[in-house]
């Protein structure tokens, strides 16, 4: 870890919307290349990036479409930059192929998705949380990502900053999943001084070209290989085909098994270091509301109303949606009467809660097709019915 580069950090108190706070979190986290195809409601992220990058030595480039942006992102990383792309649902769909490519090539990168209702172009200017399962399963084959869900502009800064560190630590794509309300709401954002912002640098090999560096050989005791930078004289091969430790295509079952095992284990063995959540009033709770993003703030009003009626309601807010805080939810299963899961989709993370709970406690989905937030009374009603 090292201190953040002070030229990029606007330390102090600001009044920012979530999109702008994302941009500042990225800059503080060391991002110096952003590739995008601006789309509502994420446009303000790249607007801020485009106006701030010239001052900090970064480069923003607008591409012809999201395919161009999402592959340029990966090129930027292999060229030595910390990089991100920014989009919303329709663009996120187009980027899925390259998300898988980032996963298999272990390219540390950040995607910001400011969610709007779908399917397809849906409601461009309105909030949704309908891309949660796409974040986990949207690209083909088995792969793992980290997905973070801020619920305020402050967290947009904090979690985008953290996304860049996580990407380097595990060499995986990290997704910051906003929704339109969090992206566009304005609140106080405190940006710490650079010495309080510890940045994970890219881990480059210490071997020189010709000294037997292998691109996908993890150092002893680690599951995460070291990197090299294009142009530094190494002969490397980066491919989306199943590859061996040298990075060469090796299309056979043992290589596939070995590669996939390491790609899964590098995240699964470190879940405890990655997962984060916020819990309130879980001790003695009859019902636990599981929520994330803007819905967690709307749910707070519903929870208060239910508590006023004497129901013991706790809340569990997902900060990492993926990896899912499985152990923590499992520990509550069987102890509470119900999990109530409001979200701005027709039931996505509710499926994960249900899976983890394994029938020990009922899971009540409180769906919403998006376009606005829940009426808190609907959530209160679901809580009251769940304890009956």
């Amino acid at each position: 870890m090292s201190n953040a580069n002070s030229t990029g950090v606007l330390s102090g108190n600001h009044y920012l919307d979530g999109d702008h706070a994302c941009a500042e979190g990225a800059i503080a986290g060391g991002c110096r290349f952003a590739a995008g195809y601006p789309i509502t409601p994420s446009t303000e992220v790249v607007e801020r990036i485009a106006s701030r990058f010239p001052l900090v030595g970064g480069r923003f480039q607008q591409f012809e479409d999201e395919l161009g942006a999402s592959i340029a992102l990966l090129g930027g990383v292999w060229g030595g930059a910390k990089a991100m792309t920014v989009t919303s649902g329709p663009g996120f769909s187009l980027m899925m192929e390259h998300l898988g490519y980032a996963a298999i090539t272990e390219t540390p990168c950040v995607y910001i998705d400011v969610q709007r209702p779908g399917p397809s172009t849906g409601l461009p200017t309105a909030p949704a949380q309908g891309d949660m399962m796409q974040a986990r399963f949207g690209s083909h084959g088995d792969f793992r990502v980290i997905a973070l869900c801020p619920n305020s502009p402050q967290e947009c800064f904090d979690l985008t900053f953290r996304a860049f560190n996580l990407a380097e630590e595990y060499r995986v794509p990290v997704l910051v999943m906003l929704d339109e309300v969090v992206g566009h709401m304005t609140e106080k954002v405190v940006i710490p001084t650079p010495d309080k912002l510890q940045v994970t640098p890219r881990r480059y090999t210490k071997k020189k070209p010709g000294e037997g560096f292998k691109l996908y050989e993890a150092p002893a005791g680690s599951l995460v290989p070291e990197m090299v930078k294009a142009g530094d004289g190494y002969r490397i091969h980066v491919t989306g085909l199943t590859h061996d430790e040298r990075g060469y295509p090796a299309m056979n079952v043992p290589t596939q098994e070995k590669m996939q095992a390491r790609l899964m284990d590098k995240l699964l063995n470190n879940v405890d270091q990655i997962v984060s959540w916020e819990e309130k009033n879980l001790a003695g709770a009859e019902v636990v509301v599981v929520s994330y993003g803007i819905t967690s703030r709307v749910a707070e009003k519903a929870i208060q109303a239910a508590r006023d009626q004497g129901v013991k309601v706790g809340s569990f807010r997902l900060i990492t949606a993926w990896p899912f805080p499985e152990k923590q939810i499992k520990a509550l299963a069987g102890k509470v009467k119900a999990f109530v899961v409001p979200e701005l989709n027709l039931g996505q993370m509710a499926l994960e809660v249900e899976r983890v709970v394994g029938g020990k406690t009922k899971t009540v989905s409180v769906p919403h097709p998006g376009g606005t937030v829940h009426n808190p009374e609907v959530i209160t009603k679901a809580i009251l019915e769940a304890v009956r």
Partner: protein, 183 residues
């Protein structure tokens, strides 16, 4: 006291959103309260009714939306017609007196009017009418402190226009104070 909900409405181009941002910023950055601003966000352009919503509280704000504002600030008749039914009974309405003629108000609403555009024109730039309104808001509602509002104005306008905007703020403030003293 609980959260205070405020809605700013007017025509796109009148600086309505900036007015909301300044009040929110004054509360959150300079008065050590909490505030959350959301704005009606859509494909509308200049000239149509637009609005900003601000919640101010002594405690962290969880629910960010404004449904029944305690205070409403409107700068155009269109915005008045569109938004005034949301105003709470016994709420406070601040209007641009030459541009808004209030009718059919909810029960018990107190109305405070200021010729913000005329004052701004006297200062040489009609554009600063929103800052006149922020000064007026500060005096009439007392929701943000004068010093906090001054800092927030300074912090939110282009550097070359700070002086003009500060004059606009002081004029609105002064007008509001006189009106309150009379009431």
């Amino acid at each position: 006291m609980g959260p205070t909900e405020i809605k700013f409405g007017g025509l796109g181009g009148q600086g309505v959103i900036l007015g909301g941002i300044i009040v929110g910023k004054a509360a959150a950055l300079y008065d050590e309260k909490f505030s959350c601003l959301t704005q009606a966000f859509g494909p509308e352009a200049r000239g149509s009714a637009c609005s900003a919503q601000v919640v101010v509280d002594e405690h962290p704000i969880m629910y960010p939306y404004v449904h029944h504002p305690h205070i409403m600030v409107v700068l155009s008749q269109d915005a008045f017609v569109k938004f005034s039914p949301e105003l709470r009974e016994n709420g406070t309405l601040l209007i641009e007196e030459d541009l808004v003629k209030p009718t059919n108000l909810p029960k018990g609403v107190k109305v405070f009017a200021v010729p913000a555009t005329r004052i701004a024109e006297e200062l040489g730039k009609r554009m600063v009418l929103n800052i006149v309104m922020v000064g007026f808001f500060t005096a009439v509602t007392g929701l943000v402190s004068e010093q906090a509002a001054r800092e927030a104005v300074k912090d939110s306008v282009p550097p070359a226009t700070v002086e003009l905007n500060m004059r606009a703020f002081e004029r609105g403030l002064e007008y509001g104070k006189k009106l309150v003293a009379k009431a």
